[in-house]
């Protein structure tokens, strides 16, 4: 008796910044495996991501992660029916590693190659489940808030396409976390450490939520960063000058009085601004479903408050599993799965790596 052949699956590759990731998804969007190798330690000394170091590490890590992902999924490379890799936006040198390896695999297997928009991956990440089940159904229309180190953007997804409803005018929310952390001498990256420390503080002197004069829903975080710097000086913390260092300058066991409360005030201001913009957006148009994704979607206060905002406003708010908030290939494979079969069977093999690539330029899916 011939055993049924395993379902064909999608291979996803992500290498747009400082995380190398490989994932395998079933045809129903089931996550068969997802492995991520973070380079945070490698970049810490430089106070941020160094593109050349990132690209070298991707090249070194990718084959090992591919082995790991195939083994964890229990599938052979020959079971792969499509290959999806991040084509942008991101660091071109880093993107080219995953893109080139993905193209080589797709060409060799004779299967379609799908270049994926990194931010589309994030927007879709909350539809993935890590409990072994198929992905949640993606409706034709939904709203997506992406909050990360490079983005604080609100998008509308409809059957007609994707458009941008609001974006940050200056820093991204995640960037504000990193900068505040650096100024406070708490090291890089800022998100996890501030989340942890702010939990022990009490927000008593909240910062103002900025309102733009033109009534726009756009976000702004640079004023908040300046306000934090002033408050740090008044606490006697001299804002670090951006000199790279391996170790945080401050000892977490011996923090200046008032710093924890200041961090709580900072977090409160970030979340309040998000709530404010979402509430004003909702006043203008219906939001049946909102996805919140990106690195800052791992933040405890943000998760708690936006979930509660959704319950109050009657909006279904989907947050990704914490593992899927950072850059990962599962979301890339999922976006690729949805876009596979669009256009020419192999037109994707010519795809360039793009540092900039507006999500709004994508065709509807």
């Amino acid at each position: 008796m011939k055993l049924p052949s395993p379902p064909r699956c999608v291979l996803g590759i992500e290498s747009s910044c400082d995380e190398t990731s490989v994932a395998l998804l079933g045809a129903d969007g089931r996550v068969l495996s997802s492995v991520i190798s973070s380079q945070i330690a490698a970049h810490r000394r430089y106070g941020g991501v160094v593109p050349e170091i990132a690209a070298r590490a991707h090249l070194q890590n990718l084959p090992l992660l591919l082995d790991e992902a195939l083994a964890a999924a229990g599938v052979a490379l020959s079971d792969v029916g499509a290959v999806a890799a991040t084509a942008g936006p991101g660091l071109v040198g880093a993107l080219l590693v995953g893109l080139s390896e993905g193209k080589g695999i797709a060409l060799g297997l004779g299967v379609p190659f799908v270049p994926v928009h990194h931010i589309e991956g994030h927007c879709l990440s909350p539809f993935l489940r890590l409990d072994g089940g198929p992905s949640r159904p993606v409706p034709d229309s939904f709203t997506a808030l992406v909050v990360s180190g490079g983005h604080t953007h609100l998008y509308r997804f409809t059957a007609a396409g994707i458009d941008l409803a609001a974006r940050t005018r200056d820093d991204a929310a995640g960037e504000a976390y990193d900068k505040v952390s650096k100024m406070a001498g708490l090291g890089y990256p800022g998100g996890p450490v501030i989340d942890r420390l702010a939990g022990s503080g009490r927000s008593g002197r909240p910062f103002t939520v900025p309102q733009l004069k033109d009534g726009s829903l756009d976000f702004s975080f640079s004023g908040l960063k300046t306000a934090v710097r002033d408050r740090l000086s008044s606490l006697g913390v001299s804002p670090a000058t951006g000199v790279p260092g391996d170790r945080p300058a401050l000892d977490e066991g011996d923090l200046p009085a008032g710093l924890l409360d200041l961090l709580a005030d900072f977090q409160e201001a970030v979340v309040r601004q998000l709530e404010d913009r979402l509430t004003r957006f909702l006043a203008k148009e219906p939001v049946p479903l909102l996805t919140v994704s990106g690195g800052v979607a791992a933040n405890s206060l943000l998760r708690e408050r936006l979930a509660s905002w959704g319950r109050r406003k009657g909006v279904e708010v989907l947050l990704p599993d914490r593992v899927l908030t950072s850059d990962n290939a599962a979301m890339i494979a999922f976006a690729g799965l949805r876009r596979a079969g669009r256009g020419g069977a192999d037109g994707g093999l010519d795809a360039p790596a793009r540092s900039r690539w507006p999500l709004e330029s994508l065709l509807p899916c």
Binding site: A41, H43, Y46, I105, L107
Partner: protein
Amino acid sequence: MLVLAVETASPVPAATLLLAGERPPSEKMESLLLGERTAELLPRRVRELLGLGGVGLGSLDRIVVATGPGSFTGIRAGVAFCRGLARALGRPVYGFGTFEAAGLAVREPPEVDFVLDAGRGEVFRAARRSGVLSGPALVGRAEALESAAGRGISVVDLGASPLPLSWALARLAARAPLEAGGLFRSPLAYGRASAAEERFGPPAEGPA
């Protein structure tokens, strides 16, 4: 034996398809300059090359790629693409240094300095003495040229006079023992650290 060679490290990237027969010894080849947008169009160019040779991907026995020194981005795109292709086809992939290929492409004279632009007024230099290649090392361009002139040694600049490097790579791979395949674990010869490492030191080791 049918070998596909991809050379994306030098300023004039190219690919070669080499059909090497053993008995009697014979060689047939097709080459293609990879041209502009090398990295993104690599799959298209490789298909064009296979079309020129009238063969399919499934006929390839070996794949080989230049591992540097040279263009950082070029090396990575070439290595990642060839590695992925070889893995999907279930064929071995080989890696040889840019200067190893240059050494085969230029057999005479036995004493020569090969140089390749490294940016910032420097070159990668590999020296061949009595037929034996050593290096590469990173040296100032002026110093490299002066020292060769002082010793009466000719200089071959890979940027000034493009060499058939992809053909040489294909030959090296065709001759290599089967077990020499396995680029996956061999280090690349970037030839220099990133600018950040040169300024601040190597990345810190430790947990994320």
